[in-house]
């Protein structure tokens, strides 16, 4: 057994460095291929458009978006759910949809934090008629937390908190580990278990169609709100139970609604700081 000479050793190490370089090259190819894939998913998208709205619009740090939902007014019609599905190219394989509306019995508390037992008492998402006497409705979606647990745990930065308060997804970066899914206390995140397909004529070109195996969720309609439009769910609500706007602006509609009403947030004690607040202005849920 002759010892290996220095020259062989150098050659060997050279090979190792070469292999490492090839590996890096391969990984960058993989990543760039994903970008191209995203570019093709919506025709209007520029090739390097990883962001949730497909345009990589930049956030205005002076703005802080927030939503107020009046559970007293909500009649549980679910128009927000269906409009959201259409607006955001959500395939039928995503279930539940980005927005879910829970029907709850009256008598369950809503001040502060509905406990799981309160909510489970008669809570359902599969009601067929609404509004029903003695019931109230709790719409829930991504809460765009000030301190989002999903962003904290993400190993790639695929989900991120933007300067205007939106919690967004970079679908081309997501590895589908679903750590964010389990970290979200509101169960707001959905996963593409199947290859979701949206018919071409029904596809909203402003929103990328998500690939298989990535996580998605409500974006507060980033592609609309950054152009000065309201989120689709707010726009379609027939009883004006949803209010949306800039919380930093005291003259905005949400700020005014919050000044006039007592509000609460879900699971305040988890220190997530949800950007959706609830008010009970309609108070119809009180009678039973």
């Amino acid at each position: 057994m002759s010892p290996i000479r220095r020259r062989d050793f150098v050659r060997y190490m050279g090979g190792m460095v070469g292999l490492a370089f090839l590996g890096k090259l391969g990984s960058s190819l993989l990543i760039s291929r994903d970008r191209v894939e995203a570019g093709q998913s919506g025709d209007l998208l520029p090739p390097s458009s990883p962001k949730a709205d497909g345009f990589s619009t930049t956030a205005d740090p002076a703005i802080k978006y927030g939503m107020v939902i009046d559970v007293g007014a909500c009649i549980g019609c679910r128009r927000c759910m269906w409009a959201c599905q259409k607006e955001n190219n959500t395939p039928s394989t995503i279930s539940p949809l980005w927005i879910e509306v829970f029907e709850l019995k009256s008598g369950t508390s809503v001040t502060g934090h509905p406990s799981i037992e309160d909510l489970k008492q008669g809570a359902t998402t599969s009601y067929t008629q609404s509004p029903t006497e003695g019931r109230w409705y709790l719409p829930a979606q991504c809460f765009h937390c000030e301190n989002p647990p999903c962003v904290k745990v993400c190993p790639t930065g695929a989900t991120y908190k933007d300067a205007d308060g939106l919690v967004l997804m970079d679908y081309t970066r997501c590895i589908g580990c679903r750590l964010c899914v389990v970290a979200c206390p509101y169960s707001a995140r959905r996963f593409n278990w199947w290859r979701g397909e949206v018919p071409a004529e029904e596809t909203n070109p402003l929103v990328p169609v998500r690939q298989i195996g990535v996580v998605e969720k409500c974006t507060f309609c980033v592609h609309r709100v950054r152009r000065g439009l309201l989120p689709r769910c707010v726009e379609v609500c027939p009883v004006r139970a949803r209010h949306f706007g800039n919380l930093n602006d005291p003259e905005s509609q949400v700020s005014k609604v919050l000044q006039e009403n007592l509000s609460f947030r879900l699971m305040e004690e988890l220190n997530t700081g949800p950007s959706i607040r609830y008010i009970t202005r309609g108070k119809k849920w009180i009678q039973s």
Partner: protein, 432 residues
């Protein structure tokens, strides 16, 4: 003079005996390898299905249902086992436990193999395994806060150190193999890069420092980053809490001991190495395993009491699922049949040496090993089935895809292990 000759002869016999698996291969080996190849190939096919059709082919769902399932349970299980060998090897070196030396390398190989399976299990669970490198690419930005980045870091470090440890401590035997078996020199020569016959003292020193590093990493991996994936999430009742670290660490060390014990017994039986791997090793490991398992039962008690006594309702509901609900049959049979009775037997044989038997100890360890897999399942799944918002209650039905993958990964692990047995010396030849 006489003694020198007998010593050399004895050494020659020992070498022949321990290197025999490398020289002689019976048809039984090929039969076993072929039988293992079937589930492995099936697993590859099923993985192809899963990749092309999506993870929907598993029983996983969210938010009604479990977003993680037996792939993650397998991951935690294999990471746990991975501590075994190298922990044994490091302990042998640092505490100078001469009597356990023959099983040191079995454990080291077990570490390298099961750590690979842990990595594979994570890739299997990912929606986009093709983007695995994103974790590395964005590592600098995410290492500050993502518990998964911590995990990947420590696992890669642990894998590097254990593979390095295995390689360094094997070099002396590889030189022996290269000399005795020139036809395989192509395999041994690259591994003997820079080998000098007098390097042993230096290797020992390096291995000693590696052992220190590995002992620290054991705590950081199974008592740190793996439990922190779960324990740091207040969104999941049953996971959240500071107990997660010690809880997972105890499970890891216990299941690792059980794994080393079972594999050593099998290697011993197959190659008739009764003279080299002595029964005292099994007795010692068995008693240690029994005590650790009993300690684990105490941790389960502490956990369940906390989840029930004056706990938030969400914690209580998860505990209810385990103790009286849909997982109760699994939970109680695991607790009594899987942990308590085998551990009791292992401890009692410390007091009654006549009750000891290698086979019995191995069976007890096998049962405990299986129970630790069930425990991992019961950690991962029930907490996910109770979302905090009132989504419809989901269930988790493990599909044939997931069972096929689980079986395939296990078969792959065994296949890698027996391939190693055929290519490299499994028990250190350089005794005395």
């Amino acid at each position: 003079m006489d003694t020198v000759i007998t010593k050399r002869e004895r050494r020659q016999r020992l070498t022949d005996d321990l290197l025999r698996p490398l020289f002689h291969t019976t048809p039984v080996f090929f039969l076993v390898a072929g039988a293992l190849l079937i589930p492995v190939l099936w697993f590859l096919y099923v993985w192809y299905i899963q990749l092309t059709q999506g993870l929907g082919v598993t029983g996983l769902r969210t938010p009604s249902g479990a977003a993680w399932g037996i792939y993650i349970a397998n991951f935690v299980f294999y990471v746990g086992i991975a501590h075994g060998g190298i922990a044994v090897a490091a302990a042998i070196r640092l505490l100078k436990l001469k009597g356990y030396e023959p099983i040191g390398r079995i454990g080291e190989v077990l570490t390298v193999v099961s750590l690979s399976m842990a990595g594979l299990s994570i890739s299997l669970d990912m929606g986009r395994p093709d983007r695995l490198f994103n974790i590395i690419a964005f590592w600098p930005q995410r290492i500050g806060s993502s518990s998964l980045s911590w995990d990947v870091t420590v696992i890669m470090l642990y894998f590097s150190l254990s593979a390095l440890y295995l390689w360094l401590t094997m070099r002396h035997d590889l030189a022996e193999c290269a000399a005795q078996f020139p036809r395989r020199a192509w395999l041994y020569r690259p591994l003997l890069l820079g080998y000098r016959p007098d390097e042993k003292a230096k290797i020992d020193r390096m291995a000693w420092w590696l052992s220190i590093a590995i002992v620290f990493l054991i705590v950081m991996l199974s008592g740190g980053v793996v439990p922190w994936i779960f324990g740091l999430l207040p969104s999941r009742p049953g996971w959240f809490g500071a107990l997660a670290g010690p809880y997972f660490l105890t499970a890891a060390i216990s299941s690792a001991m059980a794994g080393v014990l079972v594999v050593s017994a099998m290697v011993r039986g197959v190659f008739h190495w009764e003279a080299h791997i002595k029964p005292q090793i099994f007795r010692g490991l068995g008693i240690f395993l029994g005590i650790m398992t009993m300690f684990y039962l105490y941790l389960i008690l502490a956990e369940q009491l906390t989840m029930r006594y004056a706990a938030p309702i969400s914690e209580f509901l998860v505990s209810e699922m385990l103790l009286t609900g849909e997982f109760a049959p699994l939970f109680w049979s695991m607790l009594i049949g899987g942990f308590f009775l085998p551990a009791l037997f292992l401890i009692l044989q410390a007091f009654h040496p006549r009750w000891f038997g290698v086979t019995r100890t191995t069976i007890a360890a096998m049962v405990i090993l299986l129970a630790f897999w069930i425990k991992r399942f019961l950690i991962v799944v029930p907490s996910l089935l109770r979302p905090l918002l009132p989504f419809p209650e989901g269930t988790y039905q493990v599909t044939w895809v997931e069972w096929s993958v689980t079986a395939g990964v296990l078969a792959l692990a065994i296949l890698m292990f027996i391939a190693f047995v055929k290519l490299f010396p499994m028990v250190e030849v350089s005794e005395e």
